[in-house]
């Protein structure tokens, strides 16, 4: 039990020390910081504070209480300044240069001691993510080094990695200050000062990461190509933000405030990161609500994938009750992105169905729509892992007996056992064909539609075969249907073009059977030759300008033409040439030798017009 005099003396000494360091007084207490100076000074000061606090509980005389309270206030105000100063001088924004866009001109402005660099294990920028975009000619450019799974090549940002933002000595000091402030009832001031300094530091790091502040209006107005670049940057930055920046701040709060009171570290943490976190997520949210159009699908999926990957870490970093809103927002954005992906797919299907271009593509070649669609769904099959989770319902607008002539029918029952995504893929091919059928009717020529269909279906088949994922989804059953269609179109083409040509080479009608002689009607024969020549020339002239881009298909077609044409002509020539050659001007009727025809067939489907002058190599 201390004697009143001793207690009084200790209090006086303590009070003197406190008052000496009064921030508001005009003494050198203002110009120096205690915690930057002599360690003994620090200890003395803290002891003085403790002494005053003890005095709080023991005095009951009102006057003394006033003195004590006054001293406490002076001490707390001082400690607040010291706290702020320690935080500021020991804070460095995280060096994030290696992850920022090399074209940005932000340079580091770190100050003070105790740099907190974080090692980046990667060398330069590795573009691991897909860079898929649609260019004007409908082709998809792909600069991929790997498939869709965003690999963790950034070892530093694939999982939470906290950094020590402040040295442990400083933390010790901060802790000793915080304890005293809080036990004196100055909790709010402590949180305020902590929050304001740390928030600045986070803001600075944030800016370095290149996350722009864009309003939703801004984002709606930007072109998609620009947005793709920003999304890419955002994905990289978000990983750093959540796994390193925010996680480290949380750790710092725990280091300083853990055990000092209830949930104070949570309050400080939220004070520090709430603003930046909202700003971070607002960008992703704005993307998730932007107007839907097909070319956006893949970047939206990238974003979805990245965010999904981050959610467990978001939940862990923001686990306290007061940061619930952030967790919720992240989940909402994820959901919206999924919704957007579904909507875009549906949009895409509608667009394919209703694509209205009415100008027939010259030469019956592959329609740009076909290329676009097949490239698109090939890319979709690359994203199969993600999309298979997201696409959960069948296409809604096709069903047998819909009675709607503007949409094709498809019996989904046949596709039992297939994933909804696969059904969508098949459906897209179905509606593509449906649209192409409509376009094929725009050709005036009777044969060209079939060639057109052949070209396009063949392209579809090639594309499906060329992508194992796509092939697996489409399935060999449907693939068989497609090749059947191809064959059908080939047959129709044959029929439309060659039946009448070969008709000229038929036997019936040439023989005049009489009672006494069986001979050949020379006039009829001449007519036949003339007709054949005219038709063949016409067909040759026209169909040379038609195009079958695929060399193999082109070959096969020519061969199938030759197979029918050449033997028929050879046989016809063989049987009847003598009748013509025995008459006048055989060259008017026999224009082509068999070799001629063989050569001319090679002109077919090259896509070039040929001169009217046909070589004559035939010997009379």
């Amino acid at each position: 039990m201390e004697s009143p005099e001793n207690t009084g003396l200790e209090f006086e000494t303590a009070e003197k020390i406190i008052l000496r360091w009064d921030s508001t007084a005009y003494e050198d207490g203002r110009d120096r910081m205690i915690f930057e100076g002599d360690r003994q000074e620090v200890d003395r000061y803290l002891q003085a504070v403790d002494e005053i606090q003890r005095a709080m509980s023991s005095t009951s005389i009102s006057d003394d209480q006033n003195k004590v309270n006054s001293a406490i206030q002076v001490a707390m105000a001082r400690l607040e300044d010291e706290f702020r100063n320690i935080l500021i001088t020991h804070t460095n924004p995280i060096e994030t240069d290696s992850l920022t866009d090399p074209s940005s001109s932000v340079h580091s402005t770190s100050s003070g001691t105790g740099g907190a660099d974080f090692e980046d294990d990667t060398n330069g920028e590795e573009e691991e993510e897909e860079d898929s975009s649609m260019s004007k000619d409908g082709k998809l450019r792909r600069n991929i080094s790997g498939v869709s799974s965003v690999s963790s090549s950034y070892r530093s940002t694939s999982s939470i990695r906290e950094i020590d933002l402040i040295s442990s000595d400083a933390i010790f000091d901060l802790k000793s200050i915080a304890e005293r402030m809080i036990s004196s009832g100055y909790l709010r001031e402590c949180i305020q000062v902590y929050g304001s300094v740390r928030k600045s530091a986070v803001d600075t790091s944030f800016r370095r990461l290149g996350i722009e502040k864009l309003s939703i209006g801004d984002i709606q107005r930007l072109g998609w190509a620009q947005l793709e670049a920003k999304i890419r940057r955002w994905i990289r930055a978000a990983k750093v933000c959540i796994r390193i920046l925010f996680a480290s701040e949380k750790k710092l709060c725990e280091q300083i405030f853990d055990g000092v009171g209830t949930a104070i570290d949570d309050a400080c943490f939220m004070e520090t990161v709430k603003g930046p976190a909202i700003q971070l997520f607002n960008f992703a949210e704005a993307i998730s609500i932007s107007r839907r159009s097909p070319e956006k699908l893949f970047k939206i999926l990238d974003l979805h994938d990245a965010l999904m990957d981050l959610i467990p870490d978001i939940d862990s970093v923001f686990e306290c009750k007061s940061s619930e809103s952030i967790r919720i927002q992240a989940a909402e954005i994820l959901s919206r992105l999924a919704e957007a992906a579904r909507g875009i797919l549906s949009e895409f299907e509608n667009a394919v169905l209703r694509e209205p271009s009415k100008v027939p593509v010259p030469g019956g070649t592959i329609h740009p729509l076909t290329r676009y669609v097949m490239n698109y769904i090939s890319l979709i099959s690359d994203y199969k892992q993600i999309l298979i989770e997201l696409i959960v319902s069948k296409p809604s607008s096709g069903s047998r007996y819909s009675g709607d002539p503007s949409t094709p029918d498809m019996d989904f029952a046949e596709l039992e056992g297939k994933t909804p995504l696969a059904i969508h893929m098949i459906w897209i091919i179905v509606i593509l064909q449906f649209n192409l059928e409509g376009k094929s009717k725009l050709y005036k020529d009777a044969s060209l539609p079939h060639l057109f269909i052949m070209n396009n279906v063949h392209y579809i088949v090639q594309k499906v075969k060329g992508s194992p994922e796509l092939r697996e989804m489409i399935g060999d059953d449907y693939l068989k249907k497609l090749t059947g269609k191809l064959r059908q179109a080939a047959t129709s083409y044959q029929r439309a073009t060659w039946v009448r040509v070969l008709y000229c080479l038929r036997d019936e009608g040439l023989h005049v059977s009489g009672a006494f002689s069986s001979g050949v009607s020379k006039s009829a024969l001449r007519e036949r030759f003339k007709a054949f020549n005219a038709m063949f020339e016409e067909v040759h002239r026209t169909q040379a300008t038609w195009l079958v881009p695929d060399s193999q298909l082109r070959e096969e077609l020519r061969i199938s033409i030759s197979e029918k044409l050449i033997p028929a002509y050879r046989s016809f020539l063989g049987r009847f040439r003598s009748h013509i050659e025995s008459g006048k001007h055989p060259e008017n009727y026999i224009k082509f030798s068999v070799e001629d025809l063989e050569t001319l067939v090679l002109d077919f489907f090259e896509g070039y017009p040929v001169s009217h002058h046909l070589r004559r190599r035939s010997d009379s």
Binding site: T24, R30, S62, Q65, N66, V68, N69, S70, Q73, V74, M76, A77, E80, D81, N85, I88, T109, K136, G185, Y186, R188, I191, Q192, S196, S200, D203, K213, S215, I216, G217, D218, Q220, G275, P276, I278, I289, R291, R292, P294, E295, S325, I328, A331, E332, R336, A338, E339, R342, S346, E347, F348, N350, A351, R354, E355, S357, L369, Y372, V373, S396
Partner: protein, 391 residues
């Protein structure tokens, strides 16, 4: 959860298309009735908001937290009804005909601005919570007994920060927050306090895009708002006009109440024709709020939120008290001060209880508006304005 609920309407959208064309004659009557009802409900709801508090019906003061929450509730109701009138069961082609083919895109543009305002105001609410916390320091200090020099100085420090922060002009934009770095040394003088408050405010408000301005957004939202005339006034152009006005009003009221980025020149004059029945109460509210705004704008205010006004008033008064404080304090003066401190505590309590729910409500408004926008876009697309894939 609002956003996940929306998953359902992916199919719902298709069902709108499938669910037939409504025969004009059969349901035309119904349509007109719905429009009438819509207008009546709007008028009623705004009437409630305008009503003066009286002894029988204790109403929330204009632009208090509770009043704002009611406003947002009312907005959600109107919005739901609007959507029903405009979209449900309707053949998409009706919505893409003139004049809607022009009016709806304009409406959607307003919607996007409203979303940004929701975000800005939500950030502003965080700033208000910051004021609340400063005020709570004051309360905590001034409730101590005996009230001594220490507590009063503590209160004064917090009060100075509070008042400085609240009388700042909020146009200051993205000045580098690096200024806070230099504060370590200069202790706790009044100037430093003000600078600290300024820096805090700037860093809070700089979360919005750089040149974004709340007042400009509001102005843009209302600039092409023209009352439908002639035979347009009985069709769907009318509910679109009404809802647009409601949206502009609600956003405007939020911006007037809560500090957010760049409110200089916030418009105070609206062009709603006075004779429209549904608009009477709304016009009344506009006038009242405009008056207040004009008064305060001269002094440079942080916002018209009633609780904040109270904080400001009490803050000024309490600063005066602290300036003239002498220990020990007479019982009479203590009583006087206690009344004010109690009022301050009461206001803080209202803020503590109301601000977070307010933020949640703003978020709900955000969700709802996004959902409606998507649905309108879907219907417009169905109506045949399909963009061909870029080829």
């Amino acid at each position: 959860m609002p956003a996940t609920e929306y998953q359902g309407s992916f199919l719902g959208r298709i069902s709108i298309r499938r669910n037939q064309v409504i025969a004009m004659d059969g349901n035309h009557e119904q349509e007109l009735e719905d429009l009438e009802l819509f207008q009546k409900h709007v008028a009623d709801r705004f009437g409630e908001l305008l009503a003066q508090p009286s002894d029988e019906i204790p109403n929330d003061p204009l632009l208090s937290i509770a009043w704002l929450r009611k406003l947002l509730d009312m907005f959600l109701c109107c919005e739901a009804e609007f959507k029903a009138v405009l979209i449900m069961g309707r053949d998409p082609s009706q919505i893409s005909k003139p004049p809607l083919d022009r009016l709806l895109p304009e409406f959607l543009d307003r919607v996007v601005k409203a979303l940004d305002i929701c975000n800005a105001v939500s950030i502003g609410v965080d700033l208000v919570r910051h004021y609340q916390k400063l005020a709570e320091i004051v309360v905590s200090a001034m409730e101590q007994r005996p009230l001594g020099d220490g507590q009063v100085r503590r209160a004064k420090k917090a009060l100075t920060s509070l008042v400085a922060a609240m009388t700042l002009e909020d146009g200051s934009n993205t000045k580098s927050t690096e200024r806070t770095w230099s504060f370590g040394r200069r202790g706790s003088g009044a100037v430093a306090n003000k600078d600290r408050a300024a820096a805090q405010f700037r860093s809070l408000s700089s979360t919005m895009a750089k040149n974004w301005s709340a007042s400009k957004q509001i102005h843009a939202m209302s600039s092409n708002l023209v009352a439908p005339r002639g035979n347009e006034s009985s069709g769907l152009a009318l509910p679109v006009y009404i809802m647009s006005n409601i949206m502009v009003f609600v956003m405007w009221a939020l911006v007037a109440a809560i500090p957010c980025q760049e409110r200089n020149g916030l418009m105070t004059h609206f062009q709603v024709p006075r004779q429209l029945a549904w608009a009477q109460s709304m016009i009344g509210l506009q006038e009242k709020i405009s008056e207040e705004w004009k008064k305060k704008e001269k002094k440079g205010c942080a916002g018209l939120l009633e609780e904040m006004q109270r904080l400001e008033k009490l803050g000024q008064s309490l600063i005066e008290f602290t300036d003239s404080f002498q220990f020990p304090i007479e019982a009479e003066r203590l009583e006087e001060v206690k009344v004010q401190v109690d009022e301050l505590a009461e206001t803080c309590k209202k803020m503590e209880e109301g601000l977070v729910p307010l933020q949640l409500q703003i978020r709900e408004v955000f969700h709802r508006v996004v959902r409606s926008r998507t649905e309108v876009l879907d219907v417009l697309d169905q109506a045949g304005k399909v963009s061909a894939p870029s080829m």
